[in-house]
Symmetry: C2
């Protein structure tokens, strides 16, 4: 059936690429580095969106929409931000095509339709948004502004991979404005916590919360908080970031407010985002050599029912039982699909739903009707059992919780096994090479040392964990004093 995947052990990267395509999640498009998100992949993304959107709204945020384009002069207003993104941005220079009389009327860019000022396709929206906020903020009464937008952004990456790094991607970007530094810092932390809660509770993906070193910070931020996850190949993945922007953008766009006390001060800012990259993280955290494995909370279809039958009459009998189960499961808020297509055989369907990670599969054949049972298969453990029909609903309900928990625990155990305390550089290199994962080591706090380690090993500091204990130590490379361990890893 052409459905077999390369195994993870054989070639992890190939396994991932094949899985994304064969599970019908996404594919490459005719535009270099841009992907098509297919309906099944998009359905998972929609579930993520819905949950995140709910969490944002529960914490007082509202959605809005800002332009796709950033005029070059605004783009470069905040210098560090511009510097960080200038090398990878798509630029609109013209606003019309015309027929080329010299070439059979083929379309060419109309040289007479050149824009006075070039427009950058947003790689991130701080510039256009802070230019807008200038008009919204006069007094402390106008603060805080708690706004989010769901949007597409473009970063002209040279090496792209479906979901993980694409020239265009979908994301949400929150942009908030505050009267005080403390409030902005609290917002930065709150949103990072929301991302962590979402990752752990809905994606069943354990994450480490921490702050980035200066090297790894968002361009224009004073602090970047992040959640870092560990993939099954021992590489880390930055799954979400929340930035404390200080007054950098307020200064760049001259956004001041009248304080309660009658003063005039620059506004404090944060921004925070997660993207379709989370799809890559979700896939790589749980999936196996049979295909995608989905936590029930994000599965578009949580239960699939497949009839095993010969002839119309048997199908009709089985369908009676199946339809009753469908109805009862739906009444419990469980999404269920009864696949009675006659164009495909049961074996083909089994393979498809395994590949697509449907958490629970029920199969009903004539013998089940006789015995009053159904065959229940769990995607995560690949185990099967017979369940009495009258017990199916309770069983499935329980499994929705149990599978979610099992997946989380498995990923957490993997991370635990792949987090190693290391105190000298030879061991650092050895662990990184032989085992991978997070390396917890002392670091002298300089960008120089961080760069040197990256050069020698390709490992970077993923974060300075918030929960790291203070302990006296010596930098793993330079031996200089250090007050706490940080987390190193090779990363996506």
């Amino acid at each position: 059936m052409g459905k077999n995947l390369t195994s993870r052990q054989e070639d992890y990267s190939k396994w991932y690429n094949e899985l994304v395509v064969k599970a019908d999640l996404a594919e490459n498009s005719a535009v270099r580095g841009c992907m098509v998100i297919k309906p099944y992949g998009f359905a998972i993304w929609e579930k993520m969106q819905a949950q995140l959107d709910k969490m944002f709204k529960e914490t007082g945020h509202q959605n809005a929409y800002f332009p796709l384009f950033v005029p070059k002069s605004l783009f470069e207003a905040e210098e560090k931000n511009a510097e960080g993104f200038a090398k990878e941005c798509a630029v609109v220079t013209h606003y019309r095509l015309k027929n080329d009389p010299d070439n059979e009327g083929k379309l060419i860019v109309d040289p007479e339709a050149k824009l006075e000022e070039e427009l950058v396709v947003r790689p991130t929206s701080e510039a256009i948004i802070w230019n807008t906020y200038k008009g919204w903020i006069q007094s402390y009464r106008d603060l805080p502004i708690l706004v989010n937008q769901w949007a597409n952004v473009v970063r002209w990456e040279m090496r792209t991979r479906l979901f993980l790094r694409t020239a265009e991607f979908l994301w949400q970007e929150g942009h908030t404005a505050h009267a005080t530094k403390e409030e902005a810092l609290a917002e930065t932390e709150q949103m990072n916590n929301i991302y962590a809660e979402f990752a752990e509770t809905f994606m069943a993906m354990p994450v480490i919360k921490g702050s980035k070193t200066e090297n790894e910070r968002f361009a224009g931020a004073l602090e970047t908080y992040c959640i870092e996850a560990l993939m099954q190949d021992g590489k880390a993945l930055q799954a979400g970031t929340s930035h404390f922007l200080g007054q950098n953008f307020a200064k760049a766009f001259d956004v001041k407010f009248a304080t309660k006390e009658g003063g005039l001060e620059y506004v404090w800012a944060t921004s925070w985002g997660v993207s379709t990259r989370l799809m890559g993280a979700l896939i790589m955290t749980h999936s196996d050599d049979k295909g995608l494995v989905l936590p029930p909370k994000l599965a578009p279809t949580q239960v699939v029912i497949v009839p095993i039958y010969k002839g119309e009459e048997q199908l009709a009998e089985i369908s009676k039982t199946a339809n009753k189960l469908v109805e009862e499961l739906r009444a419990q808020g469980i999404s269920v699909k009864y696949d009675d297509r006659d164009t495909q055989k049961p074996g083909w369907k089994f393979a498809q739903y395994e590949m697509q990670g449907v958490p629970v599969r029920l199969a009903i054949g004539p013998k089940d009707l006789e015995k009053g049972t159904v065959e229940l298969a769990r995607r995560d453990t690949l185990t099967k059992e017979f369940v009495k029909q009258e017990e199916v609903i309770e069983k499935v309900k329980g499994l929705m919780e149990e599978i979610q928990e099992t997946l989380f625990n498995k990923a957490r155990d993997y991370r635990k096994e792949h987090t190693t305390k290391v105190d000298n550089f030879d061991e650092f290199k050895k662990v990184l090479k032989e085992k991978g994962g997070f390396i917890s080591a002392h670091w002298d706090g300089t960008s120089e040392t961080e760069n040197k380690i990256k050069e020698l090993t390709k490992a970077t500091i993923r974060c300075i964990p918030f929960d790291a204990k203070k302990e006296q130590g010596a930098c793993v490379l330079t031996g200089k004093p250090s007050a706490q361990r940080v987390l190193f890893a090779k990363a996506y």
Copy 2:
């Protein structure tokens, strides 16, 4: 308070522009022709999206996402479509900016980062999608494909107006693929019907369903069905379109499928869309000189409660009653906001919620506490009455239905009064000038005549209504025979 609007009678266009800004719906941005949709405006759009999305899914459609960019060679593959959009498309030509050493390091387009092939920012996605469908469709088993995407598109319009015509706008675009012409035509009609149902049931906006003349058809379509609404200034607004694309795109992108019978045929296509333009239609259908008027089904806040008090103690007493109402209204699924801010006076709040079109306002003062009443104000009729506290919930519940219906009926009556049967061209011009609205007249069926009428009067054929009776008549301009009336109007 600077909150007063120019009246509709004085200057309808100015009234609209002021309302959009003062009701906090949207504003112009730093990018020519692109708007910022503000949180309140976006909340209304989100309600529209949620309902439409539900209706699409109930009819078997799934969401997906396709690239923002269309390579020029794909863009021009379907000739008529390309011709229709080439004159107004934003074109990405470069993928990097660099510092200009001759100008203090200011950013300029890096001439070395020129794309081999220019990328058109999608004005519509038929080209990129049909190029993708080529890989998805081999056999009749792969059909139909029923896909929708929510996206931003860019059309470089020269004259722009908030929501009605913007260089970038948000929309949904459905793109479906079918095995037969009949099925594609049925889909085209079904989606036009869904748009009509949405407009009438949720927006409380009556629409005429019909087909476009060749002049007004979507570039590349064989048929365009549409819903046409009438605004309060007597101008028509095309609120949604559904296109039967025949095999044009399948031929342009060579998309064939193996039939059940073993043949090989080109696939049949439809596309259909509504956009943030609906916001403009919604605003202009119901609003008045006090501001926005919203149908309850699309109001982000359906009920606002304002306390009238002096001092903390009174507020505390009133809040008890108010919070109880909030709770009971929410239990009925009604969205309600209790505005007990002490930074603004009640009069200011009343004006704000009137401007923002909140359907029902409840005010509670100390006298109401004594008498066990609240003051209830309806936004649509601007009427007030006192209601016993124990009757408020039922009253408000009833009003949600009643206001929705009243708005629809009012708009339908307006349309009825502004739809005129006309049988000669002098009268045509007179009615158009003095009364506006739809003119139901005979037309000889030629583009030439349609163009001539447009030239002379600025009126176009909005649609050939589906429910038009067959009747023998003479073209209002040429006197040539005609078999049915069509609807003319000046249009947005």
